[in-house]
C-alpha cells in the first residue's frame, strides 16, 4: 500500500517538475518573442496556438500527420521484417556473417539523407522514396541490436534446454528467440525514432504531403508559426510513439526484464 502511494507520489512530482520545466520554457519563449516583435523570425507561443486551431479546423494538419505516420510505419515494417530475420540468421551462421557484415559496415555510415537523390531517381516523387528513406533509417538500429541479441545467447541456456529434451526447433522458438527479444525490442524502439526523424527529411525534399513538406512550404511562404506547428507536432508524436513502444516493451513484450 505504501509502495503504491510512494509510486503515485513520485509520478506526481515528476509530472509537476515536467510541467514547471515546460512552463518556464514557454515563458522565456513568450518574453523573447515580445521583445523581438517579429512574427517571421519568432512567432509568439500564442500565435502558434492560434495556428494550431486554424490548421486543425481546416483538417490540413490531420492530413499531413496521417501521411507522415503512414510513411514511418511503412518504412518501419519493411525495415524490421528484413532486419530481424537477417540479424538472427547472421548471428547463428559464421559463413553468412563473414559474407554480409563487411557490406553492412560500409553501408551503415551513409546517412539516410544521402540516399535521397538515388531514391528520387529510382522512384520519382511521392510515397515510395519516403518508404525507402524511412526503412533505410530504421534498418540499422534494428539490425545491429537484433544481431547483438542473437549473439548474446548463453551457452547455459542452450545446454539446459537440450538436457530437458528440447530439439533444434524447440531450441529456436523457446530459447534463441526469447533470449534475443529484449535487444530486438530495443532496436525496434530506436529504429522507430530514426524512421520518424528520417520521414521529415524525406518529405522536405522528396514528397508533396506530410509534416516535412508542410514545414518546407510554410518556410517558403514565411508562415513561421506553421513551421513551429509542424516542428512541435513532430516532437510530440515522436515522444508519444516511442513512449508507447516503451510501455508495450515493459508490460507485454519483455516483462521479465522489468518485474514489478
Amino acid at each position: 500500500m505504501r509502495g503504491v502511494l510512494r509510486q503515485y507520489a513520485s509520478t506526481g512530482s515528476a509530472l509537476l517538475l515536467g510541467t514547471a520545466g515546460l512552463t518556464i520554457f514557454t515563458g522565456v519563449w513568450a518574453l523573447a518573442a515580445a521583445n523581438l516583435n517579429n512574427e517571421v523570425l519568432l512567432p509568439s507561443p500564442l500565435s502558434v496556438v492560434y495556428t494550431y486551431a486554424e490548421l486543425l479546423t481546416d483538417g490540413s494538419l490531420l492530413g499531413d500527420v496521417r501521411a507522415s505516420i503512414v510513411r514511418v510505419f511503412a518504412g518501419f515494417f519493411i525495415a524490421s521484417s528484413i532486419a530481424v530475420p537477417l540479424a538472427l540468421i547472421l548471428a547463428y551462421s559464421r559463413v553468412l556473417r563473414g559474407l554480409v557484415m563487411p557490406l553492412i559496415a560500409l553501408i551503415r555510415p551513409i546517412p539516410p539523407i544521402a540516399w535521397i537523390p538515388l531514391a528520387i531517381l529510382w522512384m520519382g516523387l511521392g510515397d515510395p522514396p519516403s518508404y525507402f528513406i524511412t526503412s533505410i533509417a530504421a534498418f540499422f538500429p534494428i539490425f545491429l541490436n537484433s544481431f547483438a541479441g542473437g549473439t548474446s545467447l548463453q551457452q547455459e541456456h542452450v545446454n539446459a534446454a537440450r538436457s530437458l529434451g528440447a530439439g533444434p526447433v524447440a531450441l529456436l522458438g523457446t530459447v534463441m528467440l526469447p533470449s534475443a527479444l529484449p535487444m530486438i525490442v530495443t532496436g525496434l524502439r530506436i529504429g522507430l525514432g530514426q524512421a520518424w526523424m528520417a520521414v521529415v527529411t524525406a518529405e522536405l525534399i522528396a514528397a508533396q504531403s506530410g509534416l516535412g513538406y508542410m514545414i518546407q512550404i510554410s518556410r517558403l511562404s514565411l508562415e513561421t508559426s506553421r513551421v513551429l506547428v509542424g516542428m512541435t507536432v513532430i516532437g510530440l508524436l515522436g515522444a508519444v510513439m516511442i513512449g508507447a513502444l516503451g510501455v508495450l516493451e515493459r508490460r507485454v513484450i519483455v516483462p521479465w526484464n522489468n518485474p514489478r
Binding site: 534446454a161 537440450r162 538436457s163 530437458l164 528440447a166 526469447p178 521479465w256 518485474p259
Partner: protein, 293 residues
C-alpha cells in the same frame, strides 16, 4: 603401512593413497572390491575417458574410468582446472570425449537427453519464463501429462510454491538454484548432474541448501554426480568422494563416506567428520604440490 601408499588402493601406481603421517585412515579408500559392486549394474559407466581441447596442450581429462551405481551420490572434488566440470559436461552429453566411452544404463551416451537432469552453477534459469514455466519446460518438451501440476508439485517440494509466478530475476540466488533443482528433477531423470550448484551462494544459504538437497534426494533417490571444490560439502553430501588432480585431470583417489543417512548439519562438528576432512585435504595438498612443480 608405508607412508604415502595404501595396500588397498586401486591402481596404486596412478592413485597414490597418501595416508597422512600420524593418522590412522578413518575413511575407507575405495578399492577393487567396492568398485566391482558398483560395476555389477552401474547407472553410469565411464571407460578410459579422455577429453582434449585443441587450444590446450594438456588434456582437460585423461583416462578416467568410473562406475556410478543406481541411487548413488558421488561427489567429484578437486581444485579448479582438474577437469571435474569437463567430466560433468561429458556425462551430460554437452561435450563428447576425445577417447573412451560413456554408458548410461548400458546405452552409449552421446548427446544431451532428458535422462540426465543438469543443475548449473548459476544464471541458467530461462529469464523469459516464470519459475513455474521454467520447471514445466522439461515435461512440456517430453509431452508429459499436466506439466503445470508437475511443476507446481516440484516447486512445493523445494519450498517455493508461493513464487511459482515470479520471474527468475526477482528471486534470490538461493531461490533461483532451488528452482534450477526443481527444473532438473521435473522430467524424473534417473541421473542428476550438479555443477557447483551452491558455489555462488553465501555460506549460510549454502549450508541450508545442502540439507535441502539431501532431503530432496532422500525422497526421489536419483543418482547424483555433484561437482564441488568444497571438501566439507563433498563429505557431507556424498556416499563416495572422487578426488581429482589437475594437469592433466585424473582421479587421484576415491573415498567411501561412512556417515549414516539421513544426515544433518551436526555431523560436520563430529571428530570423525573433521578427521575425514583432514585426510582428504592431505591428498589434495599432495596432488596439488605435485602438479605445482
Amino acid at each position: 603401512m608405508a607412508r604415502g601408499t595404501s595396500p588397498n588402493t586401486f591402481r596404486a601406481a596412478q592413485r597414490p593413497a597418501g595416508t597422512p603421517l600420524g593418522h590412522a585412515p578413518h575413511l575407507h579408500v575405495v578399492g577393487a572390491e567396492a568398485r566391482s559392486q558398483a560395476e555389477s549394474a552401474p547407472r553410469l559407466h565411464l571407460d578410459n575417458v579422455t577429453v582434449r581441447f585443441s587450444s590446450r596442450a594438456v588434456p582437460a581429462v585423461e583416462d578416467i574410468s568410473l562406475s556410478i551405481g543406481r541411487g548413488e551420490f558421488v561427489a567429484l572434488l578437486g581444485p579448479s582446472g582438474c577437469g571435474k566440470s569437463t567430466l560433468l559436461n561429458v556425462l551430460a552429453g554437452f561435450c563428447s570425449p576425445t577417447q573412451g566411452h560413456v554408458h548410461l544404463d548400458g546405452e552409449p551416451l552421446t548427446a544431451p537427453s532428458a535422462k540426465c537432469g543438469v543443475v548449473f552453477q548459476k544464471h541458467s534459469l530461462f529469464p523469459w519464463m516464470t519459475a513455474l514455466d521454467n520447471v514445466a519446460f522439461g515435461p512440456r518438451r517430453l509431452g508429459m501429462p499436466d506439466p503445470r501440476r508437475i511443476a507446481q508439485e516440484l516447486l512445493d517440494t523445494v519450498g517455493l510454491g508461493h513464487v511459482a509466478n515470479s520471474w527468475p530475476s526477482s528471486l534470490s540466488g538461493g531461490m533461483q538454484q532451488r528452482v534450477g533443482i526443481a527444473r532438473a528433477l521435473a522430467t524424473r531423470p534417473p541421473v542428476l548432474l550438479m555443477d557447483e550448484p551452491f558455489g555462488a551462494l553465501d555460506a549460510q544459504t549454502r549450508s541450508l541448501m545442502q540439507e535441502e538437497l539431501l532431503s530432496i534426494w532422500d525422497k526421489l533417490r536419483p543418482t547424483v554426480v555433484f561437482v564441488t571444490h568444497d571438501i566439507e560439502e563433498a563429505i557431507f553430501l556424498a556416499d563416495r568422494v572422487v578426488v581429482m588432480q589437475a594437469f592433466p585431470g585424473r582421479i587421484a583417489q576415491e573415498f567411501a563416506i561412512p556417515f549414516m543417512r539421513p544426515r544433518s548439519a551436526e555431523i560436520m562438528d563430529s571428530a570423525k567428520f573433521i578427521e575425514s576432512r583432514r585426510e582428504i585435504a592431505d591428498i589434495i595438498r599432495i596432488e596439488a604440490r605435485k602438479s605445482f612443480r
